[in-house]
């Protein structure tokens, strides 16, 4: 095994071009598990720890340009107002130690359907900035996930940053696990209101081969909010509306039975999470108060 330690981004891209099978490693929270447990023996590791720009973010525009290796802990604490959904998702990742190392770039690179960021990125609206010596590609996050643990990166590409729409309305994220901390998602749901466009967007995790949006549910809700005059009136949502939204979200799932949970449970739970997160974001939208606290 070789250990490549590029000192800068250009050098990293050159290394990846020269060694397309090199496995990028930043936080190591996925890659090292596979090495420790003998599940993977890459020819080369490409260490990204030394590349400062991957650990910074820019918030000047309508998008946050989030360096691929920014640890979850910093997202939780420092990007709460710009990226509330992602900050909530970041808070559910692994343990404090994992959140100090793991990053959105790593989550995208691994492309596990159970990755915690994906639903939040889908709901917020995001593009992946993939770069190689050949140039930069902007890949809408919806198109980034191509299968179980597969993504749209070319072999010579690395993730430079994720461009995420700055929140203009309330966002929520909820994940079901069978433990109250340090748990992989059985399923997860993210919800974002986009009051400017008067739309809603969602993301579902761990309940289909890839992270997905619940588009039918989104369309239904967007239309109901518009036709029912909810944006103008700010009145409470009809329970039947929330129930139907949950039902449609559950319908967007295509889950499997595995050791973490049954397909039927995942579908059911996504429906419940959709209904609840909708209630939370709508309450926040209409009262201006965020209705939860997690330190």
């Amino acid at each position: 095994m070789d250990f490549l330690r590029p000192a800068g981004w250009a050098e990293a891209l050159a290394a990846k071009a020269e060694h397309p099978t090199a496995v990028p490693i930043a936080g190591g929270t996925d890659v090292m598990v596979e090495i420790n447990f003998d599940h993977r023996r890459p020819d080369r590791l490409l260490d990204l720890n030394r590349i400062g720009e991957l650990y910074t973010w820019e918030t000047d525009g309508p998008e946050v340009r989030l360096g691929a290796a920014v640890p979850y802990t910093r997202i939780m604490h420092e990007l709460r107002s710009e990226l509330p959904g992602l900050a909530l998702a970041a808070h559910t990742v692994g343990s404090p130690q994992i959140r100090n190392r793991g990053s959105v770039g790593g989550n995208l690179g691994a492309a596990s359907p159970a990755g915690d960021c994906h639903p939040a990125l889908l709901a917020a609206g995001a593009t992946v900035e993939a770069e190689s010596v050949r140039g930069t590609r902007l890949i809408p996050v919806e198109e980034f996930y191509t299968g179980v643990k597969r993504n749209a990166l070319a072999p010579d590409e690395l993730i430079r940053a994720i461009r995420i729409q700055r929140a203009t309305g309330p966002q929520q994220f909820a994940k079901v696990g069978t433990r109250n901390a340090m748990v992989i998602a059985v399923c997860a749901f993210a919800m974002a209101l986009h009051p400017g466009e008067r739309t809603v967007r969602t993301g579902i995790g761990s309940a289909a081969p890839t992270p997905v949006r619940a588009r039918t549910a989104e369309d239904f809700l967007t239309a109901e909010l518009r036709d029912g005059g909810y944006w103008e009136s700010g009145r409470p949502l009809e329970p039947s509306l929330a129930a139907e939204f949950g039902r449609l979200a559950a319908g967007a799932c295509n889950p499997i039975d595995d050791v973490r949970g049954s397909a039927a449970y995942r579908r059911h739970a996504v429906g419940v999470l959709a209904r609840r997160t909708l209630a939370w974001v709508w309450a926040e939208h209409t009262t201006g108060e965020e209705n939860h606290r997690c330190a």
């Binding site: 109250n180 901390a181 039927a264 939860h292």
Partner: protein, 786 residues
């Protein structure tokens, strides 16, 4: 390797005393088995079977041997002597001999100069398997055409079992159940299931074997019972026991999972073959295959009670899955059968417990040992009966609670305190935690206090509270006529003008705090301040196992006994030296206190240092608790257990009924410990055992694929144990009702709290949800009907 003893000043018995190894453990200096290092050492690695049942057609080790850095590769063909071992029955191959019977069974060993080299070499060994049909449950194990996993059995149970795939079967028959059934006012029945729990000790299996010049081997090892390991290892190595010298290294928890051999014989074989020290360390994945688990169980219970809510009869059948090898299944069966009706008076009992041989992972000792599974079922039955009779769960249990003077279904008279009703009364009397604890001062919920925790699944929606009670009974010490003894060597000498005591036993300190207690006993008995705990090894007689809640009782008893002998020697020296100067030396009751010989009236006769002078006194003593008897193979009658222990729990849970997620809010425990030798560690034991029971209730299970008998979740990602956010406040109420048969009146502590914790949590979830919940761990699917 740290070979110096642990010295600590401090408490006598009954005083909360910090651990003598505490400083080493908080500074990182304490040498656990995986921390050992030796000049020029090699790393051992185990190749394991990917199949649960297969014939091995061929093994080609040549590609592995050809790798640079590989020193040796061993298979069954290379074994020098005995090829099988086992705790009770020698049915476990050291390395698979033509057949593998469970997923993960060891097939070959590699020693190499780096762990990665060893792993790569193991991966190059070519094993050709022919898969065989798997036996996974009672029906497949006892079917007409079931493959017999161990043909030609010669073990003591072979003759009386109804099928060769049954390891052992124990009935317990008392009274006349058929007649009692006629008189019953209410009858309830139920089928229950307990999943396979793992000990999940944090320090993975590891050890270092160092070949010696005399052709023997020194093994530094994390284990629960040095001498039982020795008895099994020496024949495998073809060495006399005195050439296999074992020293206990630091043990990172055990809970039963280190009672069987893991890598002990393997590391020694590699070391003897290569002539070099060999270290083996399992990673977490391998650890799940490296030790036995708690027996999963299916249990059927039928209870009848009269109009006044008094139990009339129990008919029960407990089927334990022992997996591929016997391990301690026979003893687990004995416990399940004899303790399986719980701490209740029942005049008519028809109980049967048995363990199967299957191709599932081998199961054996885990904290609670056969009593845990039954407690989940009989406590569920108690709640059903209470509901049928319109009684509260505590009131119904109170009416049927056993007490001192009760007779067990085995016919054994309970001849020491059994405060079952009192323990329940105490947990019930505790104030309940306030409702809606998730609400913060600002009115917004703190998700950390809610089901789902940090995952942010509810802000209070769907959350319902429930309260549940349970109580259990566990035996202490080894039962059924086992010669259960321990050995202690105690030495007293003067160092730097002060009398210093050294206590040497082979007791495995696995975290329970035995080393603290031994020093407390020596201080109490010998009136000294300074006590050194000698490292545990096989240079002293057996201490028995650190299991069955027995070490404080049995090795504690041996230390006390040896201290008494040392005291007599000190007094004899004193009488010889000073007896003529003071008539009090002639008294029968002289004590050693505060470094002095004193009369029972408190008069100081001489400092111990002066009595000893330059002499050292030493005594090695074996100590046995009172004998027990085997259970009658047909009726289960017999004085089978030396002591019983009891704990009761009250669980308060909050359940997100829509998502099926549970947060245990409080898990209060009351336990009778006879005498708390070290109150600090007694509460620690109770809280730790309680938490393992919580884990079984709501999350812990090794999932085995019923089609292939392969383990599906051998990692800490998917085998979940409680985190600090899953574990509630655990208030502990300790009773101390002395057992006159036991040293200081003590009662073994470690296991009882593991029993009742699980059913109390599930009872609380039932109360919150109204669901039957006949299986643990309770999964969200069970709570949501998905």
């Amino acid at each position: 390797m740290r070979s110096t003893g642990l010295t600590q000043l401090g408490g006598r018995i009954g005083e909360s005393t910090p651990r003598p190894d505490g400083t080493l453990k908080v500074t990182g200096e304490f040498a656990y088995a995986s921390d050992l290092w030796h000049e020029d050492m090699l790393w051992g690695c185990t190749l394991r079977s990917p199949y649960a049942h297969a014939r091995i057609r061929s093994i080609d080790i040549a590609p592995a041997l050809a790798m640079a850095g590989v020193h040796t590769v061993l298979t069954h063909a290379d074994l020098p002597a005995a090829t099988r071992y086992g705790l009770e029955i020698q049915d476990t191959p050291v390395l698979a001999d033509g057949v593998v019977r469970h997923h993960g069974e060891p097939v070959a060993l590699v020693a190499a100069d780096h762990p990665e080299t060893a792993r790569r070499a193991a991966a190059r060994i070519v094993v050709e398997y022919q898969q065989l049909p798997v036996v996974t449950d009672e029906s497949s194990a006892t079917a007409e055409d079931a493959p017999v996993l161990h043909p030609d059995r010669t073990d003591p149970h072979a003759a009386h079992v109804p099928h060769p795939n049954i390891v052992h079967r124990q009935p317990v028959i008392r009274g006349d159940v058929a007649a009692a059934r006629q008189r019953a006012h209410v009858i309830v029945s139920g089928d229950y299931e307990v999943g396979m729990q793992d000990q999940a000790f944090l320090g993975p299996e590891s050890g270092l074997a160092v070949p010696a010049e005399d052709g023997g081997v020194d093994l530094y090892i994390a284990t629960q019972w040095l001498h039982a390991d020795l008895r099994q290892i020496a024949p495998v190595l073809g060495l006399p026991e005195n050439k296999v010298r074992m020293t206990l290294s630091g043990v990172g928890g055990a809970f039963g999972g280190r009672e069987d051999l893991s890598m002990q014989a393997h590391a020694c074989l590699l070391a003897l073959r290569t002539g070099k020290p060999v270290k083996m360390v399992y990673n977490r994945f391998e650890s799940f295959f490296g030790h036995v688990h708690r027996h999963p169980a299916r249990l059927h219970y039928e209870h009848g009670a009269d109009r006044d809510g008094r139990l009339l009869f129990v008919k029960a059948r407990i089927v334990l899955d022992g997996g591929a090898y016997a391990s301690s299944s026979p003893a687990v069966v004995g416990n399940a059968a004899s303790l399986g009706i719980g701490p209740y008076e029942v005049p008519h009992v028809d109980m049967e417990a048995l363990a199967l041989y299957t191709n599932n992972p081998p199961c054996g000792a885990m904290r609670g040992f056969g009593a845990v599974q039954a407690c989940f079922a009989y406590e569920a039955q108690m709640d059903k009966l209470a509901a049928e009779l319109g009684l509260g769960p505590v009131e119904f249990r109170r009416r049927n609670a056993m007490s001192q003077g009760s007779v067990m279904p085995t016919g054994q008279l309970v001849d020491s305190p059994a405060p079952v009703a009192e323990l329940l009364r105490r947990v019930k009397a505790l104030p309940l935690p306030p409702p809606r604890q998730w609400e913060t001062a600002g009115g917004a919920p703190d998700v950390r206090a809610l089901p789902g925790g940090l995952s942010n699944t509810t802000h209070g929606e769907g959350v319902v509270r429930g309260v549940g009670y349970a109580v259990g009974i566990k035996n202490v010490g080894f039962s059924e006529g086992f010669d259960d003894y321990s050995t202690a060597r105690v030495r007293m000498e003067v160092i730097g003008g002060e009398p210093v005591v050294t206590v040497h036993t082979a007791m495995a300190e696995v975290g329970q705090g035995g080393v603290t207690v031994h020093a407390q006993i020596a201080r109490t008995e010998l009136g000294v301040e300074q006590v050194t705990i000698h490292p545990a090894d096989t240079r002293v007689g057996s201490a028995g196992s650190t299991s069955a809640s027995r070490q404080t009782y049995v090795t504690g008893g041996a230390v006390k006994h040896a201290c008494e002998a040392v005291r007599e020697q000190v007094l004899a020296l004193g009488r010889a030296r000073f007896g003529t100067f003071h008539p009090a030396w002639g008294q029968a009751e002289l004590l050693l206190e505060n470094g002095k010989v004193v009369t029972d009236g408190g008069e100081v006769l001489a400092p111990i240092a002066e009595v000893l002078g330059g002499e050292a006194v030493e005594s090695e003593r074996e100590w046995r608790h009172r004998p027990t008897q085997p259970f009658d193979p047909h009726t289960g009658q017999g004085f089978g257990h030396v002591q019983y222990s009891f704990a009761a729990h009250r669980a308060v849970v909050e359940v997100d009924t829509e998502l099926g997620l549970v947060k245990v809010i409080e898990l209060a425990c009351a336990q009778d410990v006879g005498k708390a030798l070290n109150p600090l560690s007694v509460t620690g034991q109770i809280q730790g055992g309680t938490t393992q029971g919580l884990g079984l209730a709501v999350m812990e299970e090794i999932v085995v694929d019923p089609a292939t008998a392969r383990v599906r979740n051998p990692s800490f990602t998917d085998y979940l144990i409680p985190t600090i956010l899953d574990t509630p406040a655990i208030p502990v109420d300790v009773l101390e009702l002395a057992d006159e048969h036991a040293p200081y009146g003590l009662r073994g502590v470690g296991e009882a709290p593991t029993l009742s914790s699980t059913p109390a949590v599930v009872a609380a979830i039932r109360q919150a949800t109204g669901l039957a919940l006949n299986r643990v761990p309770v999964r969200p699917e069970h709570l949501t009907g998905t």
